[in-house]
Symmetry: C2
Subunit: 242 residues, 2 copies
């Protein structure tokens, strides 16, 4: 049973900009299926085209690139509401892989229909460009973090980002926000070794800035984490939902 766009649980979250009735009607028609994906499955492969694009309805994952020698760079973590596959849609092939860390539910769209968005719905096409620019902005922030910050600041930055994104998507619970990834994933995102990441996470725990365990992240005072991250305090910036 697929979720009607009028019943979408994400649209009311502060993370996402509102949609008008015409846009919802168009998206309902544009959505071709809703698929369940088990944890561990790769949704999109680096270097390959895909006939589908996706919006994440439920679950979490990550985007990564590989070096020939097997080293992996995690380029982003995937949350509900993220749009997947835009590179394949406009450039013909994905430049990174996307894999499910937890079981996921995806709204699926046909790549062959993407041109209809540009032809018939310029406002939605504008939102797609907005999402691409949002990803570009995030990667610029990540590049700054890897290029100019030390390990403690990098981890503080990453945990703050992940915490803000999860809170704005309505995922906060009594134990904190769900963080289903491994320390290896965070190490590969921040250009650190696994051992050094573990030691630096321990330092953040001792400082009381962040506590990640059992698949949950607790941030007692986000301003403390923001200071360690050399970031200003504040919430996640809303973006279009596609």
């Amino acid at each position: 049973m697929t979720t009607a766009c009028t019943d979408c649980p994400l649209r009311c979250q502060p993370m996402f900009q509102p949609m008008n009735a015409e846009e919802i009607t168009f998206m309902q028609a544009f959505k071709s299926a809703e698929v369940e994906v088990p944890a561990g499955q790769v949704l999109l492969w680096e270097g390959q085209p895909s006939p589908w694009l996706f919006t994440v309805l439920r679950g979490q994952g990550l985007r990564s690139k590989m070096l020939p020698d097997g080293d992996r760079q995690v380029v982003n973590f995937v949350f509900p509401g993220d749009f997947l596959g835009l590179q394949s849609g406009v450039m013909g092939e994905m430049k990174h892989s996307v894999e499910a860390t937890t079981d996921m539910t995806l709204c699926r769209f046909a790549r062959a229909d993407l041109w209809r968005v540009f032809r018939d719905q310029p406002a939605r096409a504008f939102d797609l460009t907005y999402l691409a620019a949002t990803e570009e902005h995030f990667l610029g922030e990540a590049l700054l973090t890897l290029g100019q910050r030390d390990a403690t600041s990098r981890l503080a930055w990453a945990l703050l980002r992940l915490w803000r994104r999860a809170v704005a998507t309505g995922m906060q619970g009594p134990r904190g926000v769900p963080l289903p990834w491994r320390q290896r994933d965070l190490a590969d995102a921040l250009g650190l070794s696994l051992v050094h990441t573990n030691k630096t996470l321990a330092r953040l725990r001792i400082l009381g800035a962040a506590h990640w365990s059992g698949g949950y992240l607790a941030v007692p005072d986000p301003a403390v984490l923001a200071e360690l991250a050399q970031e200003e305090d504040g919430a996640a910036t809303p973006r279009p939902l596609f």
Copy 2:
């Protein structure tokens, strides 16, 4: 005297995908001015909106982000044909600054007219999304480089990218390709100290892989540089010209 789009010196370069007659006519009307910018001037400021977007007709520059403590991350180098200001156009403000390293000539477009592209020219809107995805792809590659490569490999990767981009834009001369930036700029792009960058450039020179001096870069055998960069050999991938 502005350059007519029919006379654009960039369109025939292998770096850029072809444009049809309708697209050229639209761009001629869309272009509001041609401006000269002296070396050192900032074209776009991080954190601020801009009423203009630009395509670089001539000259070179860089894009950068600043940390509160004054550290700078160079996020990309700017070449003829690059489109500047898309983040301001769709997100309302620039997420990085753009400054001229040499004297530059820019084709200028009004941000207020950007909606016309999406409404009237879906193929051009698609190209804009393509350009945003191209920048996202590049930043993913840069993130991989900073996260998983050592200093020698990073410099080899950067010089190879810059060389390929310049060659595909028709900038090759007897002394190599023009590289007007400082070692400080490359260091700030690759997350290295100035001293270590200088030493590693010397190593590449001794290896005969790359020779950067007097504002020019010579690459005797790009396959050698590609190997040091852990990259496959090949030319720059063509992209749309806006």
